[in-house]
């Protein structure tokens, strides 16, 4: 609406204008005019506020959410998914049985959610952690005793990591039991195997970071095995014959030295916080993308009868 002072003679809309011709009773005229104008402003504000009662009609809302969330309209329900970057990996509609968690156990989704939880808590932990021999262990003590909710933060990161391994394994177990790795999803199964290995490596590289006895010896045992790599390890079959020593073999490359020390801590930290999460994210993108491209989740599919087996295509 256009607020207009009733005394405005200029005819210009919207402007609070002074009247150049009027010179008498200036004080009273100004006061009255101000009161009238403020009343008009109030009316205008009230009027506009009414429009804000429905936030979905505001410009701000419409700029963020392109689609009206009118529930009864099926087209909107589809668009709610399709026009949202966080939901767009979903199709608009799925088979009515595919939402049964008795079939999927929800393990893949939970694994991804745990990855997000781990990223979030991990970034917070990084604010308090220095990957150096002098600082690392003290930082953990600091986290546990002084940082507000630091202990909770560290515990959550630890247990979410363990939980993620459990859910990854159970996800794989379900995929085997339902035969979901079969055509056309063979390649996605392979991507999944890589993700499984990356999950284990993420957990393992994090194990060293507190720089305590537990992590130190676990990583010592783990990397000692690398010494025995055939051909690339100083103690592996055909390693010494190929010129491998403790100072140039694959274990040296993993640790950045011949013992688990400050370089190993730094390498572990970078693999844990940057290297492996980056690679895993790429594989995850492919994994989720392929679920859609391979026709959504595999079932629950209608059962096939033995009498219906076709001969193999040549």
């Amino acid at each position: 609406m256009e607020p207009e002072s009733p005394e405005s003679k200029t005819g210009k809309p919207g402007g609070i204008t002074t009247k150049p011709g009027v010179t008498t009773r200036t004080g009273v005229g100004l006061l009255e005019k101000a009161r009238e104008e403020s009343l008009a402003l109030k009316d205008r504000a009230l009027d506009e506020a009414k429009a804000y009662k429905d936030p979905q009609q505001t410009q701000l809302w419409k700029s963020i959410f392109r689609v009206s969330h009118e529930r009864s309209d099926p087209r909107n329900r589809s668009l709610a998914v399709l026009s949202n970057v966080f939901l767009h990996l979903h199709p608009a509609k799925i088979n009515r049985d595919a939402v049964r968690y008795g079939f999927t156990w929800g393990m893949g989704g939970i694994t991804f959610y745990l990855f997000i939880v781990l990223t979030f808590t991990g970034v917070l932990l990084m604010f308090y952690y220095h990957p150096t021999k002098v600082q690392a262990f003290r930082d953990i003590l600091y986290l546990e005793h002084d940082v507000p909710f630091g202990k909770l933060l560290r515990n959550m990161h630890r247990w979410a990591a363990h939980l993620m391994i459990i859910t990854t394994w159970l996800h794989m177990f379900r995929v085997v039991l339902t035969g979901s790795y079969k055509r056309p999803r063979e390649f996605n199964w392979c991507v999944g195997v890589v993700l499984l290995v990356l999950t284990l490596l993420l957990s393992f590289t994090g194990y060293l970071l507190p720089d305590d006895q537990l992590g130190f010896w676990a990583v010592t045992v783990g990397t000692n095995m690398a010494r025995a790599t055939p051909m690339f390890g100083s103690e592996g079959p055909f390693g010494p014959q190929l010129g491998m020593t403790p100072f140039n073999d694959v274990r040296f490359g993993l640790l950045g030295g011949s013992i688990v020390d400050s370089n190993a801590l730094l390498r572990s930290y970078i693999w844990h916080c940057i290297g492996i999460p980056l690679v895993a994210s790429i594989f995850m993108a492919v994994h989720f993308w392929r679920i859609r491209k391979d026709g959504g989740i595999s079932g629950p599919a209608p059962v096939m009868l033995e009498s219906e087996m076709k001969a193999k295509k040549p």
Binding site: V81, G106, L152, F173, G179, K182, W217, T229, P300, L305
Partner: protein, 311 residues
């Protein structure tokens, strides 16, 4: 019976996940097998009644004419995902508030932890070190397991059970995966609950004795037949390993031709698929339990000794 020792192992915060697995794995196995049994019953019923098979919707799940085949993801899937996220978050919070992540003394290269154990999910690999040299247990086996897993969908030529639980139609594939899965879990359980100081076998409830010494007389297989010269050892070992592959291959072949249905499936299998499957199944699924049994029951360390590597 040392309950305190058992409690100390079970209640170690880092062992909680594997204790949880002791319940989770049977529960989810039951959940999967229950649906498999229901599907198998339906399959039998439809095989008997071809007329019904033509009209049946072929799921054990309810279905009525007129029901929409598809649901909107928003809100029917999103709400489940949201609920799952909330539940997992609550579980994590409760777990993190009640149980602290372990923190030992600062790292000290001069003070070896005994036993010095890997995190529970790697204890399978660490336990394998008992049965194989590090290059097999630490490098070759993990690689074979990884590649073997990736090969799995390509060698499984069985078209049945794609997207539904069934045992009847996939006995062989599920059996093979089951062997590997159980061996892996068993190795982890041995590594967690049984191995004590010096990686010595302590039964659950037996007190860990840090001064315990075990006088195992480990022998190599060739000692049983009295071979002493190196060339003879090499040849003998190669023959034994070769024989093992042949026998295990015959056993697997026998299973793959068990009945008419299995033979039909085998007929669909290409030569390459067959050979690949045999290789990975023998090298991992059968070799691992066999070597474990040889070591634990007969104290046999190596079956094939050469100057370069030992198996």
């Amino acid at each position: 019976m040392d309950w305190h020792q058992l409690w100390k192992i079970t209640a170690a915060p880092d062992n909680i996940p594997i204790v949880a697995m002791l319940f989770l794995v049977p529960f989810f196995t039951w959940l999967g097998l229950k649906q498999a049994r229901e599907n198998d019953r339906l399959i039998e019923q439809l095989e008997r009644d071809p007329q019904l098979a033509k009209t049946h919707h072929r799921k054990t799940l309810p279905w009525r004419p007129g029901w929409a085949r598809e649901l909107h993801v928003w809100p029917f899937l999103i709400r489940i995902e949201f609920l799952a996220a909330v539940i997992v978050t609550v579980i994590l919070f409760v777990w993190s508030i009640t149980l602290d992540a372990p923190l030992e003394e600062p790292a000290n290269p001069n003070l070896t932890m005994n036993p010095s154990k890997a995190p529970w999910y790697f204890l399978g690999l660490q336990e394998m070190l008992v049965y194989f040299d590090p290059w097999i247990a630490g490098v070759v086996m993990p690689s074979l397991i990884m590649v073997g897993l990736m090969v799995f969908p390509y060698v499984d030529s069985n078209p049945f059970g794609n997207g539904y639980y069934t045992i009847k139609q996939r006995r062989f594939a599920l059996g093979m995966f089951g062997i590997g899965w159980l061996t892996w879990i068993a190795l982890i359980i041995i590594g967690t609950f049984i191995r004590g100081p010096g990686w010595i076998w302590f039964w659950p409830g037996q007190t860990w004795d840090h001064n315990a010494v075990v006088f195992d007389k480990n022998r190599d297989l060739h000692d049983f037949v009295g071979i002493t010269s190196m060339p003879a050892k090499i040849i003998f070992g190669a023959i034994v390993v070769g024989l093992f592959y042949v026998l295990a291959g015959l056993l697997l072949h026998k299973l793959m031709t068990w009945n008419g249905f299995e033979r039909k499936l085998l007929a669909r299998t290409s030569l390459l698929q067959y050979v690949m499957f045999q290789f990975f199944a023998i090298s991992v699924l059968i070799a691992l339990p066999v070597k474990i049994a040889l070591r634990l029951a007969l104290n046999i360390k190596y079956v094939w000794v050469t100057p370069w590597f030992n198996v």
